[in-house]
């Protein structure tokens, strides 16, 4: 089953350089492990929400605004696409992501085709 992982963290929480380095290294090894297991299909880090743009098409007008669509404390910092046997495996994979320690990871199944 395919799952989307939304890697979310509070952008206002500043990590120390050591924490940054640890998270970065941790993510690298997480990616390597999950790729090797065949459970991670792809994924990427995203630019911060200050670089985000929202787009709506209403009444033949294209409405453009700056910033993320969600006014939440935690914002999506990256994503990964998994292929797992079941939700328990997806949960296990997500729980090992370094951001799970201080942020939150949403695990959402893909719409079946």
């Amino acid at each position: 089953m395919k799952y989307m992982l939304f890697i979310c963290a509070d952008p206002d929480v500043k990590l120390t350089p050591e924490q940054e380095a640890e998270a970065s290294k941790g993510t690298e090894s997480w990616v390597k492990e999950m790729d090797g297991r065949g459970v991670r299909l792809q994924g990427d880090r995203l630019r911060p929400v200050s670089d985000a743009t929202t787009v709506r098409a209403r009444n033949k007008e294209v409405l453009i605004a700056d910033g993320p669509f969600a006014e939440t404390k935690e914002q999506i910092a990256g994503y990964d696409i998994l292929e797992c046997a079941d939700l328990d495996e997806a949960i296990e994979v997500a729980s090992k992501h370094p951001v799970a320690k201080f942020g939150v990871i949403e695990v959402r199944p893909f719409w079946p085709f």
Binding site: E83, A85, D86, D88
Partner: protein, 395 residues
């Protein structure tokens, strides 16, 4: 291939999925290079596809499974009846209904719906919600199980301790919903306690080596045994020390005592076993004065060690007040006054009021009773506190 066949029992499917995995491998590895363990990679990918296909097929049969799995009593004269199979299926069903990915309310509703004979309408009435709300709750939960890939199985060993805790929490909540229902309430609501006990019995049968399951059942039986003595003819709560112990159900107490003895001997003490042991201390005392409070205080000390919580600390303070006098207990209660989790918890003020009352500090006791009254939600509890407030203000 063997793995695929073992898992799917379907040779055609196994072959197709193996073929697909090879194709995927060819595409991905040409672009990204061969992974460290290509065999494992192939097996994983093929297995996942097989499970996907099976799951989609199974969606239609889940309804059938649910209908037959636990609600129909197993018939030993049926030639197809295999107690092992049915036992395993019942266990799978309980763990699936109580999966942590389901919203808590849905776990309770689904457990009731699939493991007892209650209809959606009956469950709705028991929880005081409209039937449509309950129906939607159940449908969403079932969809989530299928759509999110919640596996239909007894969790693997490394996940089992946490999952068992989850199942026990659902059962205990069910029990408490029934236990806290008052006499004027919907009878189905009160029956939730009996449903919880019945499920508890089933769980103990299915997991005879899990002492906490027996601990929870013993706890529920012991609390339940007091049901005829804890509410008076007006529907008001009777404090434990004032209850007529001849109205406690002795055979339930005996059953609980036996269960607890066996469980404790396994040497894996847990919170439900400890709470049951405390309840057993009360059950074993012929009257309130004969209660072994020193033993109870000791048990609370153990409980605090494995389940640290201000609520448990509060209960321990009450036990110490009984064993060593109200002044000793009050010191501990005052120390808890700032605990964040207890703000808005009416029992903190009610217990403090009680200790102050016993020390003759009536004005302070009255103040605490008033605080408790402002915070309690139950009518029966409100009447009880109002009477106590009366006692300390009318002297």
């Amino acid at each position: 291939m063997a793995t695929l066949i073992r898992i799917t029992g379907d040779w055609d499917l196994a072959e197709e999925c193996a073929q697909d995995a090879f194709e995927k491998a060819f595409k991905r590895w040409s672009a990204e290079g061969v992974p460290n363990r290509p065999g494992a990679w192939l097996t994983t990918v093929a297995r996942n596809q097989a499970l996907d296909r099976l799951r989609r097929r199974a969606n239609e049969t889940i309804k059938l499974q649910e209908a037959t799995a636990l609600t129909t009593p197993s018939d030993p004269t049926d030639p197809n009846h295999d107690p092992e199979d049915i036992r395993d299926d019942r266990l799978r069903l309980i763990f699936t209904c109580c999966h942590p990915a389901l919203p808590f309310e849905a776990r309770i509703a689904l457990t009731l719906r699939t493991l007892t004979g209650l209809t959606t309408a009956e469950i709705a009435r028991a929880f005081l919600v409209p039937e449509a709300t309950m129906a939607k709750r159940l449908v969403r939960a079932k969809h989530k199980i299928a759509d999110a890939g919640i596996p239909y199985r007894v969790p693997p060993t490394h996940l089992l301790p946490a999952r068992v805790t989850g199942v026990l929490a659902v059962l205990y909540l069910l029990f408490n919903e029934g236990y806290s229902a008052s006499s004027g309430d919907e009878p189905l609501r009160k029956n939730l306690s009996e449903d919880a006990i019945r499920l508890g019995r089933a769980l103990v049968q299915l997991m005879p080596d899990e002492p906490e399951a027996a601990g929870l059942l013993a706890l529920m039986l012991l609390q339940h045994s007091r049901r005829r003595a804890r509410i008076d003819s007006e529907g008001d709560l009777v404090a434990l020390e004032d209850q007529d112990r001849r109205r406690w159900e002795r055979d339930e107490i005996d059953e609980a005592t036996e269960l607890l003895d066996v469980a404790l001997r396994k040497g894996h003490v847990g919170p439900y076993q400890l709470q049951a042991a405390i309840a057993e201390c009360h059950a074993g005392a012929s009257d309130a004065a004969a209660t072994d409070w020193v033993e109870i205080a000791g048990l609370y000390k153990q409980l605090v060690a494995i389940m640290p919580s201000p609520v448990v600390e509060l209960n321990r303070a009450v036990a110490i007040a009984m064993a060593d006098g109200p002044a000793a207990g009050l010191v501990l209660v005052e120390a808890l006054a700032d605990a964040r989790e207890l703000q808005g918890y009416y029992l903190l003020h009610a217990k403090r009021a009680d200790l102050l009352r016993r020390l003759g500090r009536s004005i302070e006791a009255a103040e605490s009773y008033r605080l408790a009254l402002a915070l309690t939600g139950s009518d029966a509890e409100r009447r009880f506190l109002a009477r106590r407030l009366d006692e300390v203000t009318s002297s």
